[in-house]
């Protein structure tokens, strides 16, 4: 029941919001709806925590053998928490932003939430695909209607990229469907398929390219900085905080266990690509002059690490990946909130036009500092735990690869501190001389994130306990 509610509330909320005209009503409605969803998610995970509540099964497209089946395992719980937590955070942090046609904006956002939650819960191939697209299509509209100057071209690129992925994946899903005895889309039956190695090798790439585009993994990443730069910041937060996790999630649930032979076979290729991507994106991040693009490249580097760690097929590494999905989500949302505040208040995102903001906005500086430190995985912040486990996994796989990937730790410090220094330190410049402290709602939201960052950094064990069942299901024989 909880599982259904998590999808149903945003869908209904979104549909109603589409008809709201008043900006104030629409944003309060969206906030209310997302907070209710979050409350439901919390109650589902901490109070009604047994299988009946967290899974759901109904007939859907019986003629095709597809069921509307949802189930929430440990990884699902973490990602549902992330999704349901991110939306109220984003709505609260951008509460003061004005949008044209606010009803439609918030409506589409909520529909996207439903799609994302569905992706994380679905255990039926067709349903998964359905939600995957449901998440993508509102994002497309949100970027193309409310984005920046170059929004049409950029959104087009984003759409084509993700759509190519989707089509490949659909082909793969259909193939699997016809391979299963009795023609079914059920995930469990796919786990027991035991396909021959050569067909696994082909199918692996059909799925992997779709997921790699979403994550994104080098060299499928070029849509991301452009999209993040052009999309309205609220949407960017969701895209980078939650939507890229779809790719990683899908690799863990729909790729590795379904094609174990191909995973082992191509692990080297994927890990190499990911590690190249980490270093490559980190180097690019050093040279960026735009906050949003810097965060985008930094995100690519972090995602690269997660992707590499999955393919080491090491339990510790995989645990790191799953908790890092959550951690990276809240960290990157925090960074976007600051980027948005700066852009809204000062009208620029260029480092060369910023400086000395710490004198004018000390609270923002402190809060940003913590988020930045989390971005470089300092101990006692949440990302340290994830990255520690992931690097450990990578190290067990291959010492040299871990060493090379480790360089990204150093590079991360370079670009993050650069960003910190160029925005907040130094003397004030023309753009910042009349800057003011950021608004209270942003401060509160960031403060909540900061507390979460530190709390999860000091005591990560509950999250690790949560992911154990998933890890054992995905890598059973290790």
């Amino acid at each position: 029941m909880i599982a259904v509610l998590l999808i149903l509330i945003p869908v209904l909320g979104g549909l109603i919001s589409l008809f709201l005209k008043e900006a104030g009503t629409a944003r309060s409605w969206a906030l209310l709806s997302s907070v209710v969803t979050f409350a439901v998610a919390l109650s589902g995970i901490f109070i009604y925590d047994h299988l009946n509540e967290l899974s759901f099964n109904a007939e859907w497209v019986t003629s095709l053998g597809s069921n509307f089946s949802l189930s929430m395992d440990g990884m699902g719980k973490i990602l549902c928490l992330l999704t349901t937590f991110s939306f109220p955070v984003v709505f609260a942090a951008t509460y003061k932003n004005n949008y044209r046609q606010p009803g439609s904006f918030y409506g589409l956002m909520l529909l996207m939430q439903a799609g994302l939650t569905g992706v994380f819960l679905a255990t039926d191939g067709l349903l998964f695909y359905f939600f995957w697209e449901l998440a993508l299509i509102p994002a497309y509209f949100l970027c193309s209607i409310w984005g920046g100057e170059k929004r049409i071209a950029v959104t087009f690129k984003f759409f084509i990229y993700t759509f190519i992925g989707s089509v490949l994946m659909l082909a793969g899903i259909l193939y699997l469907y016809f391979q299963t005895p009795g023609h079914t889309f059920s995930l469990q039956s796919w786990y027991h398929l035991n396909l021959p190695a050569n067909s696994q090798n082909v199918l692996f790439w059909l799925f992997f390219i779709a997921f790699a585009i979403k994550m994104p993994v080098f060299p499928f990443h070029t849509w991301q900085p452009d999209t993040y730069e052009q999309a309205p910041t609220g949407v960017t937060m969701i895209l980078s905080g939650v939507m890229v996790k779809m790719g990683i999630f899908a690799v863990i649930r729909w790729l590795v266990p379904v094609f174990p032979l191909a995973t082992a076979h191509f692990a080297n290729v994927v890990i190499t690509l990911s590690v190249i991507g980490m270093i490559y994106a980190s180097l690019l991040a050093i040279r960026q002059d735009d906050i949003k693009r810097l965060v985008a490249y930094s995100s690519i580097a972090h995602i690269g690490l997660m992707c590499a760690a999955i393919f080491t097929q090491n339990k510790i590494g995989l645990e790191g990946v799953i908790i890092q999905m959550f951690n990276h989500g809240i960290n990157v949302i925090g960074l976007w909130i600051v980027a948005d505040t700066i852009e809204k208040q000062l009208g620029t995102r260029k480092f060369s036009e910023l400086g000395g903001l710490a004198q004018k906005a000390p609270v923002l500086a402190v809060l940003f500092m913590v988020m930045a430190l989390a971005n470089i995985a300092l101990p006692l912040t949440n990302s340290f735990v994830g990255e520690f486990l992931m690097f450990n996994g990578l190290f067990q796989y291959n010492v040299w690869i871990a060493g090379i990937a480790g360089l990204s730790i150093i590079l991360a410090a370079v670009y993050t501190l650069n960003m910190m220094q160029k925005i907040f330190y130094g003397d004030t410049v023309a753009a910042t001389v009349h800057a003011q402290e950021t608004s209270k709602n942003v401060q509160w939201v960031l403060a909540i994130l900061v507390i979460l960052v530190i709390a999860l950094g000091i005591y990560p064990q509950p999250m690790i306990n949560l992911v154990k069942d998933t890890v054992n299901a995905v890598l059973p024989n290790l």
Binding site: P219, T222, L283, I316, Q359, L378, N392, Q421, Y425, G426
Partner: protein, 640 residues
């Protein structure tokens, strides 16, 4: 003392400074500078008092290990958040909280010109530093140590860049953090190596199982750890951040960049002495890196004119001695030198701070001189510090340095020779500094001379206490030759640091070595004073001196060899590969589709006739295909 009590007390030792950080950081004390400083100082004082209690508990009872909670438990890997209070860590506890407290008191006066909110920020950072440093030395496993390890790096970054309006300082801060990060990566990889072999990071288990490691594994683990130590303790090649770190306030230099943080590397190796002793290769590398650093930094210090820079290079050099000590197996000697160095180097920095304070932020010694009569207390304490570092008996530096040099001689007489040469340079540049600053006649502006006066008592009292410690600290480790079983430190540390066999020299040899090194140092002192008392170096150096005063151009070398190529590479990736390569490819596909559709569009001419023609042709094709699947094949083969 019961385990629970120790557990609570250790928790408080760590949490008090943290509470100071939180409350001052949140602006709890508003605008009252007095309250801010008092609060911060009391927090550290409380920790110090508790540390004394712990010290005596350990002395009578032995080591304690207490666990608070499970930090991580993934089934195969378990890392608990636990503290280990043993002889080694309690010694460091005392140094950190004791010297830390004195420096807090000193800072309260030194920083009094700051605005209240920055004053609060300063003390918040300082308290946070103490917190992380305590975490570093108290942790019962390498991961907790790593917490503190990176945490002190962060605080060092924050405090170097404390005056964040100045971008020079910000660059120095960033450099320090990044160089430390390079070391941290090594440390981290070492931890992973340990995990992959032993599946644990707890000191107790690791040391117990160390014998099961292969020689290669031990060597790699210890070398990777040593990379971490190189970064944190400013050894070649990762030392260049430390002199730049002098951009921070002077008490910070005293606390972080002289007394405590930079000795973390020595702590780590002394802590892992079981592992290090197993690998001959690593030991040699540690000794050589330490020795080279000691000499190299000493040469640079000979020609520096910034009072803090001289002290900074001297710190690098002294750290080199400590690594030399570790490398030749004199772990106790190294720890002993950490302790005495903490006393006299903190003293020297604080006295330098007192000079800078009196001179209104002038740091160039060429513009000082003759300060002896204006700053009597500072002068005396500084002189004592100089004597201690120069290794003149019976000051503390003599004992600790002698212990290291004696061990070095036992290992390889060449090490000893070079070490003595370095010690001579140390004595020389320290007394060059002393003579140029305090002796001779005043060379500053008239205005400065008018305002010269001794610093307030909040600054001089810590100086006096540290001076006493610098004078007397050496008696904790009187060498075997003077009196039997009088090396209190060695006896105290013996449960954690196994004393190697066969290190003892003949008494006669030891007396001789001692005599030679003291004589050389004394000569250097006399030479320096006589040379610089009347005629200090005021001009720009030429020839070899120029190379030295430009620090062997190492910064420039790193800039050309690493920083610039990296920037060029990043620019190349950004502008060529990303824009024209990958994105070009993607856009090229798009453009191809666009182009071909524009060509195909021409078919839609609007000419009804052509449409019909296409239709008919298509129908003919379809019909033929439908009639027979192999029609085309047959048709073509029929042609031939």
């Amino acid at each position: 003392m019961s385990e629970t009590f120790v557990k609570i007390l250790l928790g408080f030792i760590v949490l008090w400074p943290f509470a100071g950080f939180v409350l001052n950081g949140l602006g709890w004390h508003g605008n009252s500078k007095k309250a801010i400083a008092r609060y911060a100082c009391y927090m550290v004082l409380s920790s110090f008092v508790a540390s004394v209690v712990i010290f005596f508990a350990i002395k009578s009872h032995g080591a304690y290990t207490v666990t608070y909670f499970n930090f991580l438990d993934t089934g195969s890997l378990k890392i608990s958040f636990s503290f280990q209070a043993d002889q080694l860590s309690s010694l460091f506890l005392l140094i950190i909280t004791g010297v830390g407290f004195l420096i807090h008191v000193y800072s309260a006066a030194y920083m009094h010109e700051e605005e209240p909110k920055h004053y609060a920020r300063y003390f918040a950072y300082l308290n946070l530093f103490i917190f992380f440093m305590l975490l570093l030395v108290l942790g019962a496993n390498y991961v907790i140590m790593f917490f503190g390890w990176e945490g002190v790096g962060l605080c060092s970054y924050l405090l170097i860049g404390y005056w964040f309006k100045n971008n020079e300082y910000n660059y120095a801060a960033r450099k320090a953090f990044i160089m430390n990060r390079i070391g941290d990566l090594g440390f981290l990889l070492g931890i992973f190596w340990l995990i992959s072999k032993l599946a644990t990071v707890d000191y107790a288990t690791v040391f117990a199982q160390a014998q099961s490691l292969s020689n290669f594994d031990v060597t790699m683990i210890t070398l990777l750890f040593f990379v971490g130590a190189m970064g944190k303790s400013a050894q070649i090649p990762l030392y260049t951040w430390l002199p730049d770190a002098m951009a921070g306030p002077t008490p910070v230099s005293a606390l972080i960049h002289a007394a405590t943080m930079v000795t973390a590397g020595i702590y780590m190796i002394a802590r892992s002495n079981v592992l290090y002793s197993m690998s001959e290769v690593t030991m040699n590398i540690v000794a050589i890196v330490g020795l080279v650093t000691a000499l190299f930094a000493a040469t640079i210090a000979l020609k520096q004119n910034d009072i803090k820079k001289v002290l900074a290079y001297s710190t690098v050099s002294q750290l080199g001695y400590m690594f030399l000590g570790l490398g030749v197996g004199a772990y106790t000697g190294a720890v002993f030198h950490v302790m005495t160095h903490a006393f006299f180097k903190a003293l020297l920095f604080l006295a330098a701070g007192s000079v800078i304070h009196a001179m209104h932020h002038e740091q160039d010694i060429r513009k000082m001189g003759g300060l002896k009569k204006y700053l009597p207390i500072t002068h005396i304490t500084f002189l004592l510090g100089c004597l201690a570092i120069a290794g003149i008996p019976p000051f503390s530096g003599f004992f600790s340095k002698d212990e290291i040099l004696a061990a070095a001689y036992a290992k390889n007489p060449l090490y000893w020779g070079l070490g003595v040469a370095g010690a001579a340079m140390t004595a020389f540049y320290m007394f060059r500094l002393y003579a140029t600053t305090f002796l001779g006649s005043f060379r500053g502006t008239h205005d400065q001379e008018h305002h010269l006066k001794e610093s307030p008592s909040a600054m001089t009292i810590p100086l006096i206490i540290l001076a006493l410690l610098s004078v007397l600290g050496g008696f904790l480790g009187i060498p075997e030759v003077f009196a039997h079983d009088s090396h209190l430190l060695k006896t105290f540390l013996s449960p954690v640091i196994a004393t190697g066999a066969g290190e003892h020299l003949e008494h006669g040899t030891e007396y001789m070595l001692m005599g030679i090194s003291v004589a050389i140092a004394a000569l250097a002192v006399i030479f320096a004073i006589s040379k610089y008392k009347k005629t200090p170096e005021l001009g720009e150096p030429a020839g070899f001196g120029k190379i030295l005063s430009n620090k062997w151009y190492i910064d420039e070398l790193y800039d050309t060899v690493i920083v610039k190529p990296l920037n060029v590479l990043a620019g190349f990736l950004k502008n060529i590969i990303e824009k024209s390569g990958i994105d070009g490819l993607v856009n090229g596909v798009g453009r191809l589709v666009n182009y071909s559709s524009r060509q195909l569009r021409l078919l839609q001419s609007g000419q009804t006739g052509s449409y019909i023609l296409f239709m008919v042709l298509a129908m003919i094709v379809i019909i033929f295909l439908w009639i027979d699947d192999h029609f085309i094949y047959k048709f073509i083969s029929g042609l031939f």
